[in-house]
Symmetry: C2
Subunit: 491 residues, 2 copies
Amino acid sequence: MSALGDLLAFQRDTSALGQIAGRLGWDQETMMPEGASAQRAEEMAALESVLHARRSDPRIGEWLAQIETPTDPIAAAHLREITRSYERAVKIPARLAAELARVTSIAQGEWAAARAADDFAAFVPRLSEIVALKREEAAALAEEGSAYDALLQDYEPGASAAELEAMFGALRPRLVALRAAILDAPQPALPELGQFDEAAQLALAQELAQVFGYDLNRGRIDTAVHPFSSGSGADVRITTRTDPADPFNCLYSTLHEVGHAVYEQNVDPDLGLSILGQGASMGVHESQSRLFENQLGRSRAFCSWLHGRMQARFGAALPGGAEDFYRLINQVHPGCIRTEADELHYNLHVLMRFDLERALIAGDLAVADLDGAWNERFASDFGVQVPRSSLGCLQDVHWSVGLFGYFPTYTIGNLYAGCLFAALQQDLPDLDGELAQGNPGPALAWLREKVQCHGAAQEPRALIEAATGMPPSAEPLLAYLEAKFSDLYGL
Amino acid sequence: MSALGDLLAFQRDTSALGQIAGRLGWDQETMMPEGASAQRAEEMAALESVLHARRSDPRIGEWLAQIETPTDPIAAAHLREITRSYERAVKIPARLAAELARVTSIAQGEWAAARAADDFAAFVPRLSEIVALKREEAAALAEEGSAYDALLQDYEPGASAAELEAMFGALRPRLVALRAAILDAPQPALPELGQFDEAAQLALAQELAQVFGYDLNRGRIDTAVHPFSSGSGADVRITTRTDPADPFNCLYSTLHEVGHAVYEQNVDPDLGLSILGQGASMGVHESQSRLFENQLGRSRAFCSWLHGRMQARFGAALPGGAEDFYRLINQVHPGCIRTEADELHYNLHVLMRFDLERALIAGDLAVADLDGAWNERFASDFGVQVPRSSLGCLQDVHWSVGLFGYFPTYTIGNLYAGCLFAALQQDLPDLDGELAQGNPGPALAWLREKVQCHGAAQEPRALIEAATGMPPSAEPLLAYLEAKFSDLYGL
């Protein structure tokens, strides 16, 4: 075999082993007996160590050195991504990788305990240790460049904090102004909800998933504490959860995860089990899940159809008409918790995390001062005092497991979703007519062709630019939010 | 670290990866979406190739060469089993291992198709290829020794065909005579069964599993096409199946798998994720599952308790008294299918497979002649003509996936169960009194202490000899079967 053939065959096995790690993660959250967690941690560590050794295998360097730049764009994309992964892996000393794995594994339990006890101070020493290790990792990865940008590459290849700052900077003042105007406006009277049978919620979630193109022959839906999507190619599974008092949590978190899962299912099968056989970045991934959940799923047109389906399944538990339903699921209310935020507040949650984590990585903010800095910023953007740390800087698991550079991808996803939706509306003039019939099919086909089928063959920014015909910016998202919520609140 | 420490740490990761392979196998039979099977085959192949490379890693040879024979018996046992695994792995050329994996993977589907079509001739070419590859593998493993014995070591370390022949030779004539006498005797009138709710079957199966010590905090029960047990240590899962017309299939296959699973759960946790942290052999494993299912589960004493539980759950679907129930689930009837056989016929099924597969591996029987040889032997031992190949030599999957040397471990398990049960009855004079109360606890504690906790630290034969105080033989099983069935059929 040629060096390229050898390299791709080697990478194929690495990708297959990566899929196995994903399947174990799914099992852990859905099926694994409780008493198995310590043993599972060892099994996962053994697999991660195999994966790390493969990603930094010196043969990859030798193959790369032998291969001439290919003319075929897909071969070039394979090489680009394999090179990125290899260069990253060899920069991290094995000792640091092992220490980060060990410390973040211990920290998960400590974070959960600190959150349960509302005791930020108790978590400061461990979080300080994690920040120190991540700064060391960032320095190793960045060499002469920006430490934060180096971390960002793991989730959003090609992005830089400077570029994000520009886009996010355009977003924040107009979002803050819009939320202030909405909260000053007269609030609509909303229907009082009854109780919603949980089995019926799951049945409707499954119906919605199929309406949105999720192929259950290559996936499955289970319940778990947190909704998530897992896997690529022919085995992409999602989870959801139910609450008898709140059917929308189940339905819209299902739609969100279906957005992630359908993206993975729609990647060109020719890219399957390769480094390109998955979504292009966390940001592009989030753009698909947000489009499914918000731009399509929370649109007035689709809500009119969904309202009928809900009435058929739940009857009197859901009083009011389709317009009440639309207002209810698009209600704007400032809350402390990111994962419960509406479309408008969500980005404000993310933007403050982006600023705070950059300060932590730069060394400009001490972990001990994080709680105070969080609460001050929250009061300024949301007009609300954070009552306790579990509703403040202890609410998210991300930092405790070492995910720095991850948060901004949520807003990148929303920005990309804004750009894609504007282009999609241009190309599909009868979108609302189709959605009102419960048919997102034309929109799904557009997303499949423009974004999803390409997997990671194109870099994120280039992919969005090619799909929309313009460079990504905050403007389409802002225009969409301002129009939608001005209409809803009669501004 | 010392060479011993390095070797054990390396083996620990290999064992952890082996557990992952087991979990994927479980997933495939219980949870995996249908469309994922081709991708899963690639994922498994990637993991198997990692495992093969680790088992034959040259560093193992170097570590073994540096280590002086340890005085600690557990350390010595680790070395014994690691040496066995390493020497086996390095004897098999990579080309042969890959070819066997490829051919047996194709053969599974072809076997299923041939069985469905009752067309043995269609399967002859592929099975001939498999036998040729297994003969090549056996020759590589055996070097100067017996080819069949070399294959046997994979499932029953330390066993030899000559020793088995002696034990099995004592078994066959007395079993054939006993079955003839029973079938000539007047047959008892048995109650006509109704229909049994499948959810209630599963609930009773779960109750039985817990009565027999299965820890659901470190396991779980799902339904699958075939009942099986999977995993070691803190994550040991079982499957079962239901048939509304036959609740005993569900209950007794659950008890059987619980025997396997409880064995794994009871291995000393200090041996967890090591090469010793699992059952000692397939034969010892089968002894535990057979004891749970037969000697304990089908005893008159336990049946009197179980009959009450079944009446409580199923009422009129189960007419007759406890003695009728006992006779029903111990009914002797010659049938063509091994997995449906009673305690008495089961070993006759196995013995003929043992003789036939030895002839295939020795080259004394051509695959093309297997069907005829099977039917002739079956007529002689069972007094029944095999009507078609799906009820004859195509019924079991084993040979089509290359499992030669596996069948005899079923009867080794029965022989070991006979020896253990005789010793257990001696030590626990009130066994029947406890079983009649639905309490196998004292018997479970005896098995745990004498057999299960040791894992693979002792070799199978030595383990049974230490537990029972005598060398294994066919006599205790024969005495048990002759006493039980003479009583049942008034011989």
